[in-house]
């Protein structure tokens, strides 16, 4: 059994060929456009302007229907994710997995202070569903380490997505938040982070501008930054019972995103790249990753 698992791990983490090109390193941008909270559909590549380190790039639009998704579920299974909360998380994950299309892949990573690759990326969605039911809560929370692991498991052909759930902040990661942001920057992975709205103290009035106004907790701030660095976002569920709707919302949004592809020209390849992606001739709010990093060879 141990040998089989080791083989599966090795296969899951084996370096993959570039997604679409055999010889040229293309950049893929997973972009979401909304207007007054609703996704904007039907845009073509002419609607987007891309600046890579200030140099305009020519991009083509890839149909998301033609590109399989690799969704890595990265779930906090620390001791606080127990009872009804865990039941709701499982139900949400099952609903998400049922919504994947033929050809899509899924993987499952759980974390406490331990990181567990429960199921490597696979088209056998049933194996992921089966693994969900075996989760037991225990331990602390190594959030940033889990993000790193999720991005590595997600790397491969297709659109790579990490659906990250945590009900609390980082406690025991080896990596720092800055490390995790750097890893996201260096990957093509889109991160959707799911958190729970913290309970309000019963006697605290919400007065705008007062010291009692809700402030974003460090835990939620971390989740938000991790997601936004990739072009994703933080999804807040009011309660664990709302997780299923949240996860389905992520899936629905993924169908309305745009996938832009370009080969960087007119600038050095290695190093940090600051990205600016703008809409041309259309109204709306655009979300895309803010940069990427190419390590020296």
């Amino acid at each position: 059994m141990a040998a089989l698992m080791a083989a599966l791990l090795a296969a899951a983490l084996a370096p993959q060929a570039p997604a679409f090109e055999a010889s040229v390193e293309a950049v893929y941008l997973d972009v979401f456009v909304s207007d007054r909270g609703k996704p904007v559909k039907g845009l073509d590549e002419a609607a987007f302007e891309i600046l890579d380190n200030g140099v305009r790039q020519a991009a083509t639009l890839v149909s998301v229907e033609d590109v399989p998704t690799c969704a890595v579920l990265v779930f906090d299974t620390s001791g606080s994710v127990s009872g009804r909360k865990l039941d709701h998380l499982r139900a949400a994950a099952h609903a998400f997995l049922r919504g994947l299309r033929p050809g899509d892949q899924a993987a499952l990573v759980t974390f406490s202070q331990r990181l567990r690759l429960r199921v490597p990326a696979t088209r056998e969605i049933g194996s992921v569903q089966h693994a969900l039911d075996a989760i037991e809560p225990e331990g602390s929370t190594a959030l940033f380490d889990a993000v790193y692991t999720g991005t590595q498991v997600a790397a491969g052909p297709g659109r790579a997505m990490v659906v990250l759930f945590s009900d609390g902040g980082n406690r025991l990661s080896w990596l720092s938040e800055a490390d995790a942001l750097g890893v996201i920057e260096a990957s093509d992975v889109l991160v959707h982070a799911v958190g729970l709205t913290p309970p309000k103290p019963p006697a605290a009035p919400l007065v705008r501008g007062s010291r009692l106004e809700d402030k974003e907790s460090p835990a939620l701030r971390s989740l938000r930054l991790l997601a936004e660095a990739s072009g994703g976002r933080l999804w807040l569920a009011e309660a664990s019972a709302d997780l299923e709707a949240t996860f389905l919302g992520i899936l629905e949004e993924s169908r309305t995103r745009y996938l832009l592809r370009y080969v960087p020209t007119g600038l050095p390849r290695e190093g940090r790249h600051k990205l600016e992606v703008r809409l041309k001739g259309h109204k709306g709010v655009l979300r895309a990753r803010r940069g990427y990093y190419v390590a020296p060879e």
Binding site: M5, A6, L9, A10, L13, A14, P15, S78, G79, S80, S112, Q113, R114, L115, R116, L117, P137, E138, G139, S140, T141, D145, Y148, T149, Q152, G168, G169, R171, L172, W174, L175, D179, G182, V183, A186, P218, A295, P296, E297
Partner: protein, 370 residues
């Protein structure tokens, strides 16, 4: 005889009066610690308090050391059973017994060992209020004690490990917005001392109203004071190195961590020293050196995953994707180490300081007291 059977027998006709309590203390002093503890563990908190207060009114002449250790061991048992409120009660009663010891030289070692052991224990199980109180009392009485300084430094270091909390009252260690997270490991080195089961780890706490940086500076000072008293105290060198790194003093951090690498023979210390050295090197952009340090850490304790994980990340930075994935694979395959990874236990303090004093305390609990 199994613990369950002892427990059942102890409850059969258990005398929960003041005299019954006295009998348990004498029984502990007489060498039947398991029996006495098992019986007292079955009393409700109200029964315990009633008996203790009843005895107090009768001018007890109670063997204070035995009483302190009876309550201490009962507290440890309560923790293992998940009876946290009972644990707290017995810790408070143990300390109260300690306070009845005459302030004489022949009781100093006992008092010091108890404050150190239970200060370390309370940090490990995340009871920072008691940890702070015990260690502060210990340092008030023994200000140059290197192990007390080490433990207190670790408490301050733990307070600085988490995001900045709201301000608390001075002179206290206060938990903020506690959440419960079970570390859930039953095979830690402390468990081998037959004493501890790590259970709760709250989100944030502050010590004596210090912010994170101030807490680290205090930790640094206490570690340095410990090393003045005992220059060879490896744990102090290790923690001082880590704290200096967190404070941004890379060269000084490297010096301390390199001292541990050169002088320690303990694999778990070498593991952490190499790991922390690697982090310093990584933050200086010396990624190849960091990879070497992480490899050395992994070699020190091959079953612990954090070193392989750290190696994976730095190789990723170096663009060595194949090797990075292999290291991550090794880390993911090693996620159930026994004992637990030293990095996971590091924030919980120098738990190695718990076992020896507790054993001494148990032996001394039977010493005669006039």
């Amino acid at each position: 005889m199994t613990g369950a059977l002892w427990f059942a027998l102890s409850l059969a006709g258990s005398d929960v009066s003041a005299e019954g309590y006295r009998a348990l203390v004498e029984r502990y002093r007489g060498g039947d610690a398991p029996g006495a503890v098992a019986e007292l563990a079955g009393w409700t908190p109200a029964q315990v308090q009633g008996a203790v207060e009843g005895l107090g009114r009768k001018a007890p002449n109670l063997p204070a050391r035995a009483a302190a250790m009876l309550h201490t061991d009962t507290a440890l048992l309560a923790r293992r059973r998940g009876e946290i409120a009972k644990e707290g009660l017995h810790l408070d009663l143990a300390r109260r017994s300690l306070e009845t010891l005459p302030d004489r030289a022949d009781h100093q070692t006992f008092r010091r060992d108890w404050l150190l052991a239970m200060g370390v224990y309370c940090l490990y199980v995340f009871d920072p209020d008691r940890s702070f109180a015990y260690l502060r009392e210990g340092l008030r009485r023994f200000p140059k004690d290197p192990e007390l300084l080490l433990a207190s430094g670790a408490l301050h270091e733990a307070a600085a490990t988490l995001p900045a909390p709201a301000r608390s009252a001075p002179g206290s260690a206060t938990r903020h917005a506690p959440t419960t997270t079970a570390l859930g490991d039953t095979a830690s080195p402390i468990e081998r001392s037959d004493a501890l089961y790590s259970w709760m780890f709250a989100a944030e706490f502050s010590v004596n109203d210090l912010g994170p940086r101030e807490a680290l500076v205090t930790a640094e000072r206490q570690y340095r004071d410990a090393l003045v008293a005992e220059p060879g105290l490896e744990g102090a060198h290790l923690r001082l190195g880590r704290v200096l790194a967190r404070l941004g003093h890379a060269d000084a951090a490297q010096a301390e961590l390199s001292w541990v690498v050169k002088n320690s023979r303990r694999p778990e210390r070498l593991y952490l020293a190499h790991l922390f050295l690697g982090r310093v090197q990584e933050e200086q952009g010396r990624f190849a050196d960091a990879a070497g340090s992480y490899r050395a850490a992994a070699a020190a304790v091959p079953s612990w995953p954090t070193a392989s994980f750290a190696l994976s990340e730095v190789l990723h930075r170096l663009g060595q994707r194949v090797e990075s994935r292999q290291a991550l694979q090794a880390a993911l395959a090693a996620q159930d180490p026994r004992p637990p990874d030293g990095w996971w236990l590091y924030p919980y303090g120098p738990h190695e300081l718990f076992g020896p004093p507790v054993e001494r305390l148990r032996q001394e609990a039977s010493a005669w007291q006039p």
